[in-house]
C-alpha cells in the first residue's frame, strides 16, 4: 500500500450546542465561543487506517478543510498515529456545501497523490449530510462504499468490506483505490499514548491554499454551491403540556383516562 488518506472534520462540541443561537434578522447561526472537537466518527476512520497500515504498510495522511486555528485538533490525529497532515485553508472555501466541499477535498487528495484508500466518517455530527464519501469518490472517479462495519485487507490488492444495511449486512470485495466511510461499530479508536503526543509535536502539518490545489473558483464557496440556505427556524412545539398532579392513584386514574381519550384502545 502506498498511502491512506483520512478525511477529518473539526466540529462544534455537542456538549455546548445549547449555546448555539440564531440571529433572528440574518437567520444565521451564532456559534462563537463553542469549542471544536474532531468529529467522533473520523477517529474510527483513522483507527481503521492505522490498522491497515500495520498489515499493509504505507503512509497515513490526515486531510482536513478547516481554518488554521484547527491545528491543535489535527495534531490530536497525529498523536493517535497518523504520519502527517494536510490542512486545506483558504477564505475562498468558506460557505461551501457538500458538493463544493467534496470538490475541494478531491483536489486535496489529488495534490497529496498516490492514494490507495481514502477513509472518512460516515457522517459529521454537525451537518450530518453523510454526502462526502460518495461525492468525493465521484469527483475522483473511483468507487466508494458507505456504512462500513468490517474491513479486512486480504492478500494482494484487495479489500473485503462489510457494509451495514437495514436488514443485515452486505460483504463486498474491492480493489484499490477506493473511498470508504465508516460506522462506529467498525472498531474502537485507540487511546492516545503520551509518547504519541510527544511524537506529534514533530510531525508535519502542511497548510495548503487554493493557490496550491487550484479548484475552479466557480465550483467552491457560497457562490459555487448549488444548495442555498433559504431560511432557518428554531423548532417550536405546540402541545397542551397538561401536568397530572395528585397521589399516585389519582395520577394513574387520570393517565388511563387520557390514554382512552386518544382512542387507541376500546373502553
Amino acid at each position: 500500500m502506498n498511502r491512506i488518506i483520512v478525511c477529518v472534520k473539526p466540529v462544534p462540541d455537542p456538549k455546548h450546542w445549547d449555546k448555539v443561537s440564531m440571529d433572528p434578522e440574518t437567520k444565521t447561526l451564532k456559534r462563537e465561543g463553542i469549542p471544536l472537537i474532531l468529529n467522533p466518527l473520523d477517529k474510527h476512520a483513522l483507527e481503521a487506517a492505522l490498522v491497515l497500515r500495520e498489515s499493509h504498510g504505507g503512509e497515513v495522511v490526515l486531510l482536513s478543510m478547516a481554518p488554521p486555528f484547527a491545528q491543535p485538533l489535527i495534531r490530536e490525529g497525529l498523536a493517535m498515529g497518523a504520519d502527517r497532515a494536510v490542512l486545506l485553508s483558504d477564505r475562498v472555501f468558506a460557505g461551501s456545501d457538500s458538493l463544493a466541499t467534496a470538490e475541494i477535498l478531491a483536489a486535496g487528495c489529488r495534490w497529496i497523490g498516490d492514494y490507495d484508500v481514502i477513509l472518512c466518517g460516515n457522517q459529521s455530527i454537525d451537518g450530518s449530510t453523510a454526502q462526502i464519501c460518495s461525492q468525493l469518490a465521484e469527483m475522483l472517479n473511483i468507487p466508494n462504499v458507505m456504512h462500513v462495519i468490517g474491513l479486512e485487507g486480504s492478500s494482494g490488492d484487495n479489500l473485503v468490506i462489510t457494509q451495514k444495511i437495514e436488514s443485515g449486512s452486505v460483504t463486498l470485495s474491492s480493489g484499490f483505490p477506493i473511498v470508504l466511510s465508516v460506522r462506529k461499530e467498525l472498531n474502537k479508536p485507540r487511546y492516545i499514548p503520551f509518547t504519541g503526543i510527544l511524537a506529534a509535536e514533530s510531525k508535519e502539518i502542511t497548510i495548503v491554499s487554493n493557490e496550491d490545489v487550484r479548484v475552479d473558483p466557480e465550483r467552491i464557496g457560497l457562490s459555487g454551491s448549488p444548495t442555498k440556505m433559504a431560511g432557518m427556524d428554531v423548532r417550536k412545539f405546540e402541545r397542551k403540556r397538561e401536568r397530572l398532579e395528585g397521589t399516585v392513584d389519582e395520577i394513574v386514574k387520570k393517565l388511563v383516562e387520557r390514554i382512552y381519550q386518544c382512542g387507541v384502545i376500546e373502553c
Partner: protein
C-alpha cells in the same frame, strides 16, 4: 441541464430482494402532492432483476409513469451500475425534482448521482414544499434537530433530496391507471466497482415501529434491561410497539431497529408514550409528529415535557406498574 424546470417529480423506488422499501411509497405520496401543485407527473424509477410486478404497486400508490430497468446485472444493488442507470434516465428526461429515501442505499446513491449531475442535494429531509417558482423547499433538521434549515437549489436541476423514512404519508392503495415502461440500459462492462460476495439477513421481520398506532418509548431513565419488560408489557396492552432513544440501544436493552430520532426512525403514532426520556432534539425530531404525546419522567423540567400533551413528572417505577394493573383489569373487565 440548468434552467430547465420540468414539473415532473421523480421517486427512486428502492427494493431489495423484490421487496419495496416503505419509504418509496411514502415518497410517492409526497410526490403526488408536489406534482399536482406544479402540474407535472409522478414518475417512479424501479431497478433490479425480475421486479416488474412491483411496478403496479407503485402505480397504485400514485405513480403516473414507472420506468423499469430490469436486468440481471442490477439484481443486487451496486452503487456504480445504479448511479449509471439513474444518470442516463435523468439526463434523458430532465425531471425537475428527484427524491430518494434516506436509507442505507439512498444516502450512498443520491450524493453520487447528484455529484455526477453537478446538482444540489439535501439530506434527511423531514418535509418538502414547492414555492411559487417551482423551487423545492427542503426542510432539514440540523444541530441535533433543534434547528430546521430550509434548503433550496434555485439554479440547478434536478433538485434532489433524500427524505427520512416515516416522515411522509402514503396515499391509500387503490387501483390506479399508470404507464409502465421498460427502459433499455447500457452498462459498461468494467469499472463498476466492488463485487458483492454475499448478503446476510440478520433482522427478522418484526412489526415495524413506523406503522404502530401506539409507541411506548424508553430512554436512559428506564435504568436497566431488568426494567425494560415493563415497556414491552405496556406496549402489548396498548397494542403498540416499543421504541427507544439512543442510550438503551447502546446499552443493549433495545435493538437498533427500535431507535427513534435523527439517526433512527421517524414515528407518527396516534399515541406516543415516552418513559424516562429526557428529550434531546435528536430524539424529538423522530417523534414530534405524533398525534398525542404523554411523557413520564422524574425530572420536573425534562425537555421532553415541552413537546408533550400530558406530563407526568414522577418516577416511572411508581406509575407504570399500577398503570399496567389498571389497564389489565379494564381490558379483562
Amino acid at each position: 441541464m440548468n434552467e430547465k424546470k420540468s414539473a415532473d417529480v421523480w421517486v427512486f423506488a428502492e427494493q431489495r430482494d423484490g421487496e419495496l422499501h416503505d419509504v418509496s411509497l411514502e415518497l410517492l405520496g409526497k410526490a403526488s402532492e408536489l406534482a399536482s401543485q406544479a402540474g407535472g407527473a409522478v414518475v417512479a424509477v424501479l431497478m433490479g432483476h425480475q421486479v416488474r410486478e412491483l411496478a403496479q404497486i407503485l402505480v397504485n400508490h400514485g405513480a403516473h409513469i414507472v420506468f423499469v430497468a430490469d436486468d440481471p446485472r442490477l439484481g443486487q444493488y451496486r452503487l456504480l451500475p445504479y448511479t449509471h442507470v439513474l444518470e442516463s434516465l435523468i439526463k434523458k428526461h430532465e425531471p425537475g425534482t428527484v427524491l430518494m429515501g434516506a436509507t442505507a442505499m439512498g444516502v450512498e446513491l443520491a450524493p453520487r448521482v447528484a455529484a455526477r449531475l453537478r446538482t444540489g442535494l439535501s439530506a434527511h429531509c423531514i418535509d418538502l414544499k414547492l414555492d411559487e417558482k417551482g423551487n423545492l423547499l427542503q426542510m432539514v433538521p440540523g444541530w441535533g434537530g433543534g434547528i430546521v434549515a430550509t434548503i433550496a437549489c434555485p439554479d440547478h436541476r434536478p433538485q434532489m433530496a433524500t427524505v427520512m423514512p416515516g416522515a411522509m404519508r402514503v396515499l391509500p392503495e387503490e387501483e390506479r391507471e399508470g404507464r409502465i415502461e421498460d427502459v433499455s440500459i447500457d452498462l459498461p462492462d468494467s469499472n463498476m466497482g466492488p463485487e458483492v460476495l454475499g448478503v446476510e439477513r440478520t433482522v427478522a421481520g418484526e412489526q415495524p415501529l413506523e406503522k404502530a398506532e401506539v409507541v411506548v418509548a424508553g430512554g436512559w431513565g428506564v435504568g436497566g434491561k431488568e426494567n425494560w419488560h415493563l415497556l414491552e408489557e405496556l406496549a402489548r396492552l396498548l397494542g403498540g410497539a416499543v421504541g427507544a432513544t439512543r442510550p438503551p440501544v447502546d446499552e443493549g436493552w433495545a435493538r437498533e431497529s427500535q431507535m427513534i430520532g435523527q439517526s433512527g426512525k421517524t414515528v407518527r403514532p396516534t399515541l406516543y408514550l415516552g418513559i424516562g426520556i429526557s428529550g434531546v432534539m435528536h430524539h424529538i425530531v423522530g417523534m414530534d409528529q405524533s398525534k398525542h404525546v404523554i411523557s413520564i419522567n422524574s425530572n420536573q423540567n425534562a425537555d421532553i415535557f415541552q413537546a408533550s400533551d400530558v406530563i407526568v413528572a414522577q418516577d416511572f417505577m411508581k406509575i407504570v406498574p399500577p398503570l399496567i394493573s389498571e389497564l389489565k383489569s379494564r381490558v379483562k373487565g
